[in-house]
Symmetry: C2
Subunit: 402 residues, 2 copies
Amino acid sequence: MGIIVQKFGGSSVANAEKIFNVAGRIQDAYDAGNSVVVVVSAQGDTTDDLIEKAAEINAKPSKREMDVLLSTGEQITIALLAMALEKNKYPVVSLTGWQTPIKTNMVYGAARIEKVETTRLTNELDKGRIVIVAGFQGVNAVNDITTLGRGGSDTTAVALAAALHADVCEIYTDVDGVYTCDPRIVPDARKLKDISYDEMLELASLGANVLHNRSVEMAKKYHVDLEVKSSFQKIAGTKVKEASSVEKLLIRGVARDNDVARIAVIGVDDTPGKAYRMFALLAKKNINVDVILQSIGRENTKDISFTVSRSQMEEAIKILTENLEMLGATKITHDEKISKVSIVGSGMLSNPGVAAKMFEALYDANINIRMISTSEIKVSVLIDEDMAEKAVQAIHNKFFKD
Amino acid sequence: MGIIVQKFGGSSVANAEKIFNVAGRIQDAYDAGNSVVVVVSAQGDTTDDLIEKAAEINAKPSKREMDVLLSTGEQITIALLAMALEKNKYPVVSLTGWQTPIKTNMVYGAARIEKVETTRLTNELDKGRIVIVAGFQGVNAVNDITTLGRGGSDTTAVALAAALHADVCEIYTDVDGVYTCDPRIVPDARKLKDISYDEMLELASLGANVLHNRSVEMAKKYHVDLEVKSSFQKIAGTKVKEASSVEKLLIRGVARDNDVARIAVIGVDDTPGKAYRMFALLAKKNINVDVILQSIGRENTKDISFTVSRSQMEEAIKILTENLEMLGATKITHDEKISKVSIVGSGMLSNPGVAAKMFEALYDANINIRMISTSEIKVSVLIDEDMAEKAVQAIHNKFFKD
């Protein structure tokens, strides 16, 4: 009836049995009369094994050769999945990134898709074939293999769906959808029927870990309807689509991110340009700064606090310490034992009491807020790490129980 | 100072240590001022592992998808070898079959190279880079991956050498050259300084197992100088070249082939067309017939004997038995316990006594000859399998000891 793009991750194709399970999902869509394009990742630990092989030879190989190496992982999967469909007597053809072709820019290891050419894809679909495309990889202007970086197969799937004007892009994963909260923390977390692109983007960046941000951004830009579904259970998943068409909810979910470290620069000269210089130093080292708070310090100084991921904390402190004098600051403190807890929902745009309701839940649970950050559809608080689970439960109860 | 093509087989690149050994051989050639193009096979057991992975899913996968799968083996090697050269600070770039590109015909699994385009190769060489090319693989007219079948990497190397007008094509293997005889049978076998293409072709088809026939045929056609060398020892190997330029020797080597079974069709009607029909039946089933002998039987009949490889014996007997009546034959006998022992050498063209000398050696050793077959530069005899080693030793002594 239409064109469906399905994407299966590495754990869904980890062995022969799982590959036949995936083949079954594909066949269902094909038997229903759809044109089916499938995107797959490398099997299970294949990518890690290849990285290890490279590390034995060269600790710092060029990204170009790393891409040549890693792209074999998905190439193995497309061939095996095609063989499974052949075994089940379905017409099928596999395509690598360069065969499709998925054209990217020149950045090895983290390439961006520039164009998906659809001539071969539509030719193969017109012949009635299921098309299996290698995720995560493309080809650049000099005919070199490139890879798309983390979450790249999701991006491949959305790019194909956009180029083919597919009716839906189904992302099959270990979980069966997007939840209002991590079910390991809040057992009665609700599965969402749908969610808007912007909400999904906030949740993904907050650690919901279901879809890669770049794929959601691309889906939003090209109006691709996404659906997150389970590879193993045949039940409805969560639809990701335009804000106007999603169910109205005050908030969509509660997320926790433990990969947070707080750095405070104390006693910064209260003269213009100090904050700018400080963050320019960090940006030059590719250190991502998240929540920023500036407070008035003693005697014409100010204190500037901000968060970074824990892996970047040491480097950030080193750079700032080297430039302490230039910044006119007196000392630097840090704290690794904190978490970020956030609520996300476009409903809060028209409901000014949402943040207050969140703070009330934390107050009732006797949890101290260290920093607050808000955007149009998100409120984040920094709290002590050992309070994070309790905080998530309290907030989830406040909004979803009654 | 010229262009050198080097080919390393799977056992020469089986692990990180061996890859660095290979890198050393490449660097020597590069440091001597040569433009170096390297062809590599898949590491160690990689190809077998991939075949097993496929077999778990589909006992009879399409050859197209098998080629997509198997070609990843060489792609992994080119990336790893390039990383080793990067580690040693040499400029290097890897190229897959489709990137080179090596254009083949449409036969998946056993493609023939039609053309090697040299634009990218010469561009990379002009930049001073070592170029590492994946052996065994190419790309066909519809942009699909093809593989070249057994011994394909040798063929890739010769094709690149021909296209680039290379000064020499060096084939690195486990052995350090071509010997007058298998050193496991005759410990004082001599390593040959050189050998002609035709002699090498006869030896390869007789089981010398050093170079694949198709690569030697191609080298002969395009006048590519080959050299068979050791991957591990830095010593001179054996040169394969035009007959006019090789050292004059009465015979070049003694070879033994145990993969031989003899079938005899007894009492065939002595009317025209019977032999033709018989071999047409076998050819239709792709059964390769080697030595053929026809003798006069009793009462207007003839007996036809021939040899096939042992793996094809059962099928050959089955076909002939089904057609016994049509052939007007009375019965079929077979014998698996035989070997073929051959001498090869263009010297015998001008020395009529060579075959007699061979027969004399066998007579002296009390070995009975079952069948004889000759070509311009080869004499083969079929003897009992348990006499084969003794026969090889006796013949080798006769020609090489004095």
